[in-house]
Amino acid sequence: MLRLEGVSAGYGAVTVLRDLTFEARAGEITCVMGRNGAGKSTLMKCIMGLVPATRGTVTLDGTALHALPAHRVPLHGIAYVPQGRRLFGPLTVAENLGIGLMTRGMGEETRERVLTLFPRLRERLDQVSSTLSGGEQQMLAIGRALCLEPKVLLLDEPTEGLQPSMIALIRDVVVQLKETGVATVLVEQRPDAVLRMADRIAFMAGGRVAEMVEARGLTADAPQFMAYVGV
């Protein structure tokens, strides 16, 4: 599925990811945890080609993504929900979804599926997206990504700053996607949320995946949480 091998990447002279190896499998939720600056968001951006890998390979089902320009990466079925949502703020909800649909040439059927998943968005189609509430903005950010009918979904802290009901809704959607065979990579900081969803957990430190563990059998007081996240 999605595989990173020996990847180094960074911003200018600053190297953030160092010789990183990572894998996400179809129908599984892989959570990425680590302290601030461990390289979690850079890992997501590196998969998307937004921070190019200076060494190593990023492949999806054998296709070398690291060799592609950033705008061609999503065409292979990788969708991205960035940290902080990064909606196209002055555009309406319908237009934001439209950009998502355009990416891989999806049509009405996909749009309908997304609006069924998030009925609140259907009521707000003509609303400018920057005027939505935080929870609605996150629904739109995820809905826009699902408009690609992705094989791999990258979610960077999607529950940050949201109320519990919204967090539960987003968790339900992610679990539903997993059942349809989507490989989900989720950056998340709270052990309770991770343990409810994750199949595997990648603990990052110093720009590497320091430990990759099966989530089954792990509890909130597992030493990895204290060692790599500090909670």
């Binding site: 990064r86 002055p90 555009l91 950009i99 826009r144």
Partner: protein
């Protein structure tokens, strides 16, 4: 009437400048030269095509903006893209482009000012005044082009892609948008709009290799007053500045008109730096 023609062509030129800044964050100092190249190539085209004035003018109106747009897209690829659209570097680079285009026009076209014959030349007699039919048609055509630009930006997929890129270049790429192509397209569109304005004006003013200075200054004033990146603000400011520039120049002097317009910019920059209609930057 002169003022309304100035307002109409200024609106076209300034919308082009505003689009380029809004989407690409590039302050295009060479914008006035795209205007000049539009006028000069209209002269070349009408001279080569010959035949009835209306026919050669129509050819110029269709071909000159396309030629200038293609030149702009080329300049984007060769110069701006290589600078990664870095704001300070692109200002210096477009100053360089300005001189290159100016000197190229001087070499191939010469230092003289030459007129293009208007496509039709009659007056529409109204009870109070007679109006030049050509000047009226300039205002009408410029208005139609501006409505076209607005429809393009708000109703087409390409317009949606441009607006998304304007908001967030990185996220746009994560949704399959080829930002380099969008930038080349926007730079070409901006230059093309300036060239359309120039082709429309060249039967009234003559084509000259230094004619880009005034439109550049007025377009910058308009874009700053209207709010950088705000199309609505740019058009409203163009109408206001175009009309007042013409009226002050007619009743007092063109120099006073420029002094007042520049003073207006200074006031706007001091009291409302985001422009009258621009959104405040966070």
């Amino acid at each position: 009437m002169e003022s309304a023609v100035t307002a109409a062509t200024l609106a076209l030129t300034a919308v082009g400048l505003s689009l380029v800044f809004g989407v690409m964050r590039v302050v295009n100092v060479a914008h006035g030269e795209f205007f000049m190249l539009g006028a000069v190539s209209a002269w070349f085209i009408t001279t080569w095509v010959g035949g009835p004035a209306w026919a050669s003018f129509l050819v110029a109106l269709a071909v000159a903006p396309l030629f200038v747009a293609a030149l702009a897209a080329l300049a984007d690829r060769i110069v701006l893209k290589r600078l990664d659209y870095e704001p300070e570097a692109t200002i210096v680079a477009t100053i360089g482009l300005m001189y290159i285009f100016q000197q190229a026009a001087l070499s191939f076209y010469g230092p003289q000012a030459m007129p293009v014959e208007p496509p039709f030349n009659f007056r529409i007699q109204l009870p109070w005044f007679g109006y030049s039919a050509y000047k009226l048609s300039v205002i009408l055509f410029a208005t139609l082009v501006l409505i076209g630009v607005w429809l393009f930006l708000t109703r087409t997929k390409a317009g949606l892609v441009m607006r998304a890129t304007q908001v967030d270049r990185e996220t746009a790429q994560a949704f399959g948008i080829d930002v380099d192509r969008v930038y080349a397209g926007v730079f070409a569109l901006g230059a093309g709009l300036a060239a359309i304005a120039a082709v429309l004006i060249v039967p009234i003013q003559q084509a000259h290799y230094l004619m880009g200075h005034d439109p550049l200054l007025l377009a910058f004033i308009t874009v700053i007053v209207g709010g950088l990146g705000s199309l609505r603000g740019t058009i409203i400011a163009a109408v206001f500045i175009g009309l007042s520039d013409g009226l002050i120049a007619f009743f007092w002097s063109p120099t006073l008109a420029k002094i007042l317009a520049t003073l207006l910019v200074a006031m706007v920059l001091v009291f409302r730096p985001q422009g009258l209609f621009g959104a405040k930057q966070a």
